[in-house]
Symmetry: C2
Subunit: 216 residues, 2 copies
DNA sequence: CACCACACTAAACACTCGTTCAGCCGCGCC
DNA sequence: GGCGCGGCTGAACGAGTGTTTAGTGTGGTG
């Protein structure tokens, strides 16, 4: 049901994929029986293979992290524009993973911590590279800046989630790919504006804070 | 237990306050029995007064929204620095409300939608006032920019939440007041930097996007 | 063939939790 | 004083859910 090539997988893998999809769609309160039904097996088999529901979730976390790592290293090794577009095209395939990560984010799970840590690490590296290339300004707190950038991204996703929950998405659709598309489209212009010119017309606010930080 | 002046309140109000505190601390899966115990009443009385757990939550939402509106209008009418400091001093008192709102945010509840809408509205108004005063730059998408600013704020809270869940808060404390303090302290410098100078050294990224937007 | 390990299942168990039920208690009103 | 009414309670009900149990079939192995 979940994956087009479900028949090819072992029952254990089918259960794991079904769990990732269910958890992503319905949250971690999704019943084991529902996951079992999605995978076409009995609830008892889920426990038989994974020991407990918590262990199943841990297996999902590990699997998602593995896929992310593979995908990330693949994206780094061949980072041509064509490949990037290819990745976007496959977003449909990875949509369940994305949903799962968002759930983990909202749930405060351990996976979410590792995930955002990785994002902040990446952002910091990219920004440093940009600095070296001369396209990005220097910062007094590179880590904090990277964190700020990622926080904005995560916050925009959360806000979009809220809009969707309120039934007033920018484009009322259930398709995650176009949802992400809409999200980036709506935030691209303000984001670039902000990142290009900043918000303030002069440095008085920053100066005031720097002075206050010296002698409170 | 929850509020120092619990004895002064009617049972209904005590239950409501206990529910806000419990929901904020443990999430909306907190059992009715736990709330009842906090309020010093039986679980049956909770249902007797509110009809159901969902209705209790709705009453909590309404109550929180009311307090926010009162507090907000109070902050607008007398917006002197002293009053602002007074509000910060009372953050301890409003910490349960803050926790409740964060829970609602993570839960995607209706309250969260209204709340962030209000925040975005406020941010937009403030930015427009800054524009008029000449301290804030003009934007091609004021609403989107306000949304971006609020998203950053919300995202930072979420990230801090994740760090706390992972047991590695910047300062390991359970006190929400100092937690908020730490959060603003850690993000103030990168935020001001970003909002003052932007991220990029030139306008090439923005220009490229604007050109792409014209003819894709 | 006998047997064993293993994937797998239906049913039952145990527990949590929201809600209902039947009744108690104290207070104002006739 | 009697009496009802509303706040209030302990106990029970019933639904949902994770897990256990006892067993079934099957495929490989001696």
């Amino acid at each position: 049901m979940v994956n087009v090539r479900s028949e090819d997988l072992t029952a254990r893998a089918r259960i794991r994929d079904a769990a990732v999809a269910r958890f992503g769609r319905d949250g971690f309160r999704a019943p084991v029986r529902a996951i079992a039904e999605d995978a076409g097996v009995s609830a008892a088999l889920v426990i038989h293979h994974f020991g407990s529901k918590d262990a199943l979730r841990a297996a999902c976390d590990e699997h998602v992290l593995t896929v992310i790592r593979e995908e990330k290293s693949a994206a780094i090794t061949n980072a041509s524009p064509a490949d990037t577009i290819g990745m976007l095209a496959r977003v449909q395939e990875y949509a369940p993973l994305f949903a799962y990560i968002v759930r983990s984010l909202l749930d405060g799970g351990a996976l979410a911590g590792h995930f955002v840590d990785g994002l902040v690490d990446d952002a910091e590296a990219y920004l440093e590279a940009g600095e070296a290339a001369g396209t990005v300004r220097a910062s007094a707190d590179p880590r904090g800046r990277a964190r700020q950038v990622i926080a904005t991204q995560v916050g925009l996703i959360l806000l979009a989630q809220l809009d969707a929950a309120a039934g007033r998405g920018v484009a009322p659709t259930d398709d995650p790919a176009t949802a992400i598309d809409e999200l980036t489209r709506a935030s691209m212009l303000p984001g670039l504006e902000l990142y290009t010119h900043g918000l303030f017309t002069d440095t008085s606010y920053l100066d005031a804070y720097l002075e206050y930080k010296e002698k409170p």
